[in-house]
């Protein structure tokens, strides 16, 4: 992509943000479509419940609709969306903490399969991630789904960078160990 092409897109996105802030429905709809995958995916990978993820995604965008005037830029928009969906997911997980865990094999698969190198392995991994405690779970999702670095994750989760790294390190160790056992079962 050429520099001028990228700048042109950025300018159009800027205009879209401004227009959406002024109540332009079409502009807002475009913003929803541009970012719905990110928001839905974070919620889905965290909650492993498609219906709940959709509900949560809608709530995030409705909150955006109510607060659009406070969005300063496209970058701020992305940060804002991530922050809100992260907060809602963690709140939701805490509400569910006392309820019997939904058996992960009861969770329906996504309507559109992600491109996967090994579907069974990916499914197993996604389930293992969903079994992590909520903060490490969200750290892993933000790191590997959104490709964020620890400083960005720390800002979203309101925690020190060192804690993010610690969560990541421990989560990977646990996933490695659990995966070795799970894959062993799949292989049988």
């Amino acid at each position: 992509m050429t520099t001028s092409g990228a700048e042109g897109i950025l300018e159009r996105v800027h205009e879209g943000v401004e227009r959406a802030g002024e109540g332009d429905v079409i502009a807002f709809a475009a913003i929803v479509r541009d970012h719905q995958s990110m928001v839905f995916s974070i919620a889905y990978h965290f909650l492993r419940d498609r219906g709940l993820a959709e509900e949560m995604g809608q709530e995030v965008f409705l909150e955006l609709h109510r607060n659009f005037r406070s969005i300063e830029s496209p970058a701020h928009l992305v940060f804002w969306l991530r922050k809100v969906v992260v907060r809602r997911c963690i709140d939701q997980a805490r509400r569910r903490a006392f309820w019997p865990k939904l058996r992960l094999d009861e969770v329906p698969e996504p309507a559109v399969a992600a491109r996967e190198s090994d579907p069974m392995l990916s499914r197993a991994l996604a389930r293992l991630v969903a079994s992590l405690p909520e903060k490490p779970r969200m750290v892993v999702i933000l790191r590997f789904q959104e490709d964020l670095d620890p400083a960005d994750i720390a800002e979203l989760l309101d925690m020190p960078v060192a804690t993010v790294k610690s969560h990541l390190q421990r989560a990977l160790a646990i996933l490695r160990e659990k995966l070795a056992r799970t894959v062993g079962e799949i292989a049988i």
Binding site: R94, F98, P133, P136, D149, A162, T163, K165, S166, Q169
Partner: protein, 180 residues
């Protein structure tokens, strides 16, 4: 905005038995994990209304909260020791000097530094309030319950459940290594 401020101040003034824990809010900035629950007035009633008498767990809670007016929980977990001071705890304790408050438990552990104090507020034959101050080197918890509460039933509730742990078991950190 003035109307809103007045509304909030009025709401806060409804429960004089509630402790002033605002000074602890700055600890959230230092905490690796913080838990803050404020349930009073209409919100408490709303929550209680949705408790099911048919589900055993919720039925127990429903029975427990029947006489409650408010519950406040502030809990902080830190990555290292020394993030809160004795003064933080003293300013909570200082609010419990009134004659209607009695300290019924005071556990001090010289070894691990795990301390716990329990205060109850008596009003006639019923307990009208409860404060738990639990402090460990890397954790500080204050629980303030306003209203009629049955201590035995509350303790039984806690005996069957762990706190939903949002963290791995704490282990010594390995030598610093950047995994990025």
């Amino acid at each position: 905005m003035k109307t809103l401020t007045a509304f909030f101040l009025a709401a806060a003034a409804c429960y004089p038995q509630a402790l002033d824990l605002k000074h602890l809010e700055r600890l959230a900035g230092k905490a690796a994990e913080s838990t803050n629950v404020t349930l009073d007035g209409a919100l408490l009633q709303l929550g209680a209304k949705f408790l099911s008498a048919e589900k055993p767990d919720e039925a127990r809670v429903k029975k427990l909260v029947a006489g409650l007016k408010a519950i406040y929980v502030k809990s902080f977990e830190f990555d290292k020791e020394g993030e809160y001071s004795e003064a933080d705890i003293a300013s909570v304790r200082n609010q419990l000097h009134a004659p209607e408050w009695s300290k019924i438990v005071d556990v001090r552990s010289r070894k691990g530094g795990d301390n716990a104090e329990i205060f109850i507020k008596t009003g006639g034959k019923d307990i009208g309030g409860l404060v738990i101050i639990a402090s460990e080197p890397k954790e500080l918890t204050i629980v303030n319950i306003v209203g009629r509460i049955d201590l035995d039933e509350l303790s039984d509730l806690g005996g069957n459940f762990g706190i939903p742990k949002m963290e791995f078991q704490r282990t010594p950190k390995p030598p610093s290594k950047d995994d990025e």
